[in-house]
């Protein structure tokens, strides 16, 4: 029971941290493909993914990363499912490119920097929670 309470305490920030890591991987892949012909840049809505992941945990329906639940035999699996069960979406390019590549290097760069800072923010908040708990456990 104590473990359940501990898990509840940290679950939001831990989920946010994991999703930030996944988004970093996706943005990195976008960035390195900036010269590949016909590559389409993808991203996912972080807010929706986090909401989805925390709700799925709250209702204890199982692993959030599995996405769509298939409860009937006729259910199709989710295609293009991203982290947190939210689908990956394509970025709308500002300028058309002859080789079909939709990666805007400046956009990706900015998103990478933003994501890295928020990752660190989640980490610090999580660390703060841990330290609070640790100091509460100390008798002195």
């Amino acid at each position: 029971m104590l473990l359940g309470k501990l898990d509840q305490e940290f679950s939001f920030n831990a989920t946010a941290l994991k999703l930030r890591g996944d988004r970093q991987a996706l943005l990195t892949a976008n960035f390195v493909q900036s010269e590949t012909p016909n590559y389409k840049a993808q991203d996912f809505d972080f807010r929706a993914a986090l909401q989805n992941a925390t709700q799925t945990q709250a209702s204890a329906m199982g692993d959030a990363s599995k996405g769509l639940a298939q409860t009937q035999p006729g259910h199709l699996p989710a295609t293009n499912a991203g982290p947190g069960g939210v689908s990956l979406q394509y970025r709308v390019p500002l300028q058309a490119s002859i080789d079909g590549n939709t990666v805007d290097v400046d956009q990706e760069r900015a998103q990478l920097a933003d994501n890295a800072v928020r990752y660190e923010a989640s980490l610090r908040i999580l660390n703060g929670q841990l330290r609070t708990l640790q100091s509460a456990m100390q008798t002195n």
Partner: protein, 137 residues
């Protein structure tokens, strides 16, 4: 899907950009070479990128980039009129390689900038992961 593959993805980008740089450098170095080991005029080399699924990943969280092939530029070289040149043909023309020096230099600059960005991404990912390791301390 996690940050474990970020290093592999970035490393594939670095390799691909290095190959591109090599091709541009080779073109620039051989811009005046009238004959190669096979007796033919030098043809400019260009790299073609493609994305591929990194081994050991599910390909969902991102793919690596690699050079699919190095193509030889088949456009005809420029003909210059130099009758006194030892390699001139019967009409006095020599065929110069089809290397456009300006675009090769631009390619080189772009490749080096992409390489720097790849290194920066690696550093960012490394610092993010290192900070995770200090959790709780």
């Amino acid at each position: 899907m996690s940050m474990n593959n970020v290093f592999d993805v970035a490393a594939s980008a670095l390799s691909a950009q290095t190959l591109r740089m090599n091709a541009a450098t080779s073109n620039l170095a051989n811009a005046e070479a009238l004959a190669g080991p096979d007796g033919q005029t030098y043809k400019a080399r260009h790299v073609v990128f493609e994305s591929y699924k990194l081994p050991g990943t599910d390909g969902e969280s991102g793919q690596g980039v690699r050079v699919r092939e190095v193509v030889l530029d088949q456009s005809p070289g420029k003909k210059l009129y130099e009758p006194n040149h030892p390699m001139a043909d019967e009409q006095g023309y020599i065929t110069v390689p089809n290397v456009d020096v300006i675009s090769e230099t631009t390619d080189m600059i772009a490749a080096s900038r992409a390489y720097q960005s790849g290194v920066e991404i690696m550093n960012t990912a490394k610092s993010m992961m290192s900070k995770v390791l200090t959790l709780g301390q």
